[in-house]
Every structure is written in structure tokens, then in C-alpha cells.
Symmetry: C2
Subunit: 212 residues, 2 copies
């Protein structure tokens, strides 16, 4: 009661809640169709008329929800990073921060494979000239921060080498990103074994101390 | 003399040589224009009419040289990997194979930055549905083999951990590829420091042995 009284808004009615659920379902359907078209056919397929035809609605629905093509692209970017953040945030905190970091690496890959249509938009540049806005950048940052915090926890536990933990976090991201990009583009037939080697190499290095 | 006598072909005349030089220059100009358009505007810009207009020639020149759009895409792919291979092959062989591998990583990045318009085509999937042909795949392989040989040299010198050298080579490639992709897409403001950390991490690992 107090919350509604101070803000002056009434609690949403059952009808309003149902409407919101419907809007959310429509929104997700539109975004998934748009990301699928973008991944399959490139940016020229990201036309409101094309997406409307794919989903079976009028372009008015798309204009009302996203304002236009730029708003739709921004919404795709945000949706991709929100799913990514939820996936990383769902990784349980192992007492050993190295194990946690490794689990985050595996979750990163799982999300990229599950959401491959979003992945290229998030980290590539599939829509020439598109610049994400402030909300999109903050969403991306909130996902990345989970990786950075995991590396910082390794540093706090005295487990890291002398390197700057922020640089280690980016390096870890770059390595996993490279692996995922190559896997998504079909360049890694033996992907599971590669990921094992990569994760082991990241933690312990690929080289031994040379024999004297 | 012997070579020409046995094959039955005459040595090319000065005129023919000049013609070939001209063809090669035209070819490079067309490929560079096409790769620039592809990187800047996406696959819909990869139209023969558009490229011809950009360079100031007729589409007949493009049809004669590449046979059509598929042949042009294939030629772009081959050109990118040939430049890449030349760049890796030019790295001097340091007596320490770890140093050689590191230098290859740096050359990989230099080539990607210098040839950024080709890079996405080589390792991404910017032209939906394009499948490189046999010659293109062999050219790509001949570049990759240089990295693989460098890792095998580390293994032969007893410098590698127990991991399969072929998996280490792919992991090394994935890490550098991820770094380069993120740098090309503007995600790494502090790229030089990241690359230092990444290279150090790849060789020695990011983690120390935990304190007891």
C-alpha cells in the first residue's frame, strides 16, 4: 500500500498484467525472429516489413514496440546481453574462485551456442554503423562485470600472477570469445577437446619450464 | 631453354608480361574495393555492378576475371589467406620456438589490422551461405600450418605441457583470434597491454600455485 500511495500509481489490474504478459511474449517473438533473420541473411534482412511478414503481424506492431529499425537493433542488443548476463549470473559460486572462473567460461560458451543468433550482434558488427546506446552499453557491462569479478576474486585469493586482473579478465574473455566465434562459424570439429585444452592452458599455461 | 623446350611453351614476351602486370593490378584493385565494401556495408554491397562503379570499370571486367559473384567471393577469401600466409611466413625463425610462436601471434594481429577488410570474410561468415572451395581451403590450411608447425616445434623441444599439440595450436589460434576480433570491433581500448597479458598468460598461465 505504502509504495503505491507515495508514487500515486494503482496496483496493476489482472487485465493489465495479462496485457503485459502478452506484450512481453510478442516482444520476444519479434526479437527472436529478427535475430534469426539477421544471422541467416545479414543486415538487409533486418527490415520491419520482412520481420512483420515472418511473424504474421503488421509493421505497426513493430513501430509501436521499437519505434523503428534503430530501436529494434538496440532492443536486440539489449535482449542478447540480458540473456547472457542471466546465464552467467546463474553459475553457482564454487568456493575455489578458479573453478568459478572456469564454470563461467563454460556457461559463456553454452549461452553463445544457445543464443547464436544474438551472439554475432553482441560482439561482432553485423549491422554496419549501429552504435549501441547507453542502456545497451550498461546491460553489456553488467554481464561483463560478472567475469571481471570472478577474476578479481582469484586475485584477492592470491591465485593470480602479477598481471593486472582487469587485463587478465579481458584476456580470458578474448580467449573464450575466440573459441566460441570459431566454433559458431564451424571451424572447430573437435570443439570439446579444444575447450578443455584452452581452459587448462589459460589456468596453467601451455609451456613447461624448459629442461636444463 | 630446357624448360620451355620440354613444355613446348614460348617465353612470355615483354608485352605479355606487361599485360599480366596490368591484370594483376586490376585484380588487386577490384578485390580491395570489394573487401572494403563488404566490410563497410555488409554482403548486399558485394554486387558486381556496385564494385564496377566504385572502381570505374564495366561489369564485364569483373565477369571476365571472376566469373560472377561466387567466384569473386572465393577470390576474396583466397587473397586474404595468401596475404595472411605471406605475413606469417615472413616471421624470422627465432632459435627459441616459444619466441617464434609469440612472434607469430604478433604477426597474426598485425596482418588482421592491416587487412581488416579481409579478416571478417576469412574467419567470420559475412556472406551468408558462402562455402569456400577446395583451392580456398588449401590456401587457408597452408597459413594455419605455419602456426601448427610452430607449436609442434615447441613440443619437439620438450617445452609443451602434456596437451595434444594440435589442440594447443587451435587454442592459441582461438585466443589470438578472439583478441583480434574484439580489437577490430573496437572493444579493446587498451589493446597493447591486453595482448602482452594474453601472450604471457598463454605461455605461463594466469594462475600461480596456491599458497598453502
Amino acid at each position: 500500500m505504502a509504495g503505491n500511495a507515495t508514487t500515486g500509481t494503482a496496483a496493476p489490474s489482472a487485465f493489465e498484467l495479462a496485457q503485459r504478459q502478452g506484450d512481453e511474449a510478442i516482444r520476444t517473438t519479434l526479437l527472436d525472429a529478427a535475430s534469426r533473420l539477421l544471422a541467416a541473411e545479414g543486415p538487409q534482412a533486418l527490415a520491419l516489413r520482412r520481420i512483420a511478414a515472418e511473424v504474421g503481424c503488421s509493421t505497426t506492431v513493430l513501430y509501436r514496440m521499437f519505434g523503428g529499425k534503430a530501436g529494434l537493433t538496440e532492443a536486440l542488443y539489449i535482449e542478447g546481453f540480458q540473456r547472457f548476463r542471466r546465464c552467467l549470473a546463474a553459475v553457482p559460486h564454487d568456493p575455489d574462485p578458479r573453478v568459478h572462473l572456469r564454470e563461467l567460461g563454460l556457461a559463456y560458451r553454452d549461452n553463445a551456442l544457445a543464443e547464436r543468433n544474438y551472439y554475432g550482434l553482441m560482439f561482432g558488427e553485423p549491422v554496419p554503423g549501429f552504435q549501441p546506446g547507453e542502456k545497451a552499453l550498461l546491460t553489456a557491462l553488467s554481464a561483463y562485470t560478472i567475469l571481471e569479478d570472478a577474476v578479481a576474486a582469484c586475485a584477492a585469493a592470491g591465485l593470480l600472477t602479477d598481471a593486472d586482473p582487469r587485463h587478465v579478465a579481458v584476456s580470458f574473455w578474448a580467449s573464450v570469445h575466440g573459441f566460441v566465434s570459431l566454433e559458431l562459424n564451424g571451424h572447430l570439429p573437435d570443439a570439446d577437446a579444444i575447450l578443455d585444452t584452452l581452459m587448462l592452458g589459460i589456468s596453467s599455461g601451455f609451456f613447461v619450464t624448459p629442461r636444463k
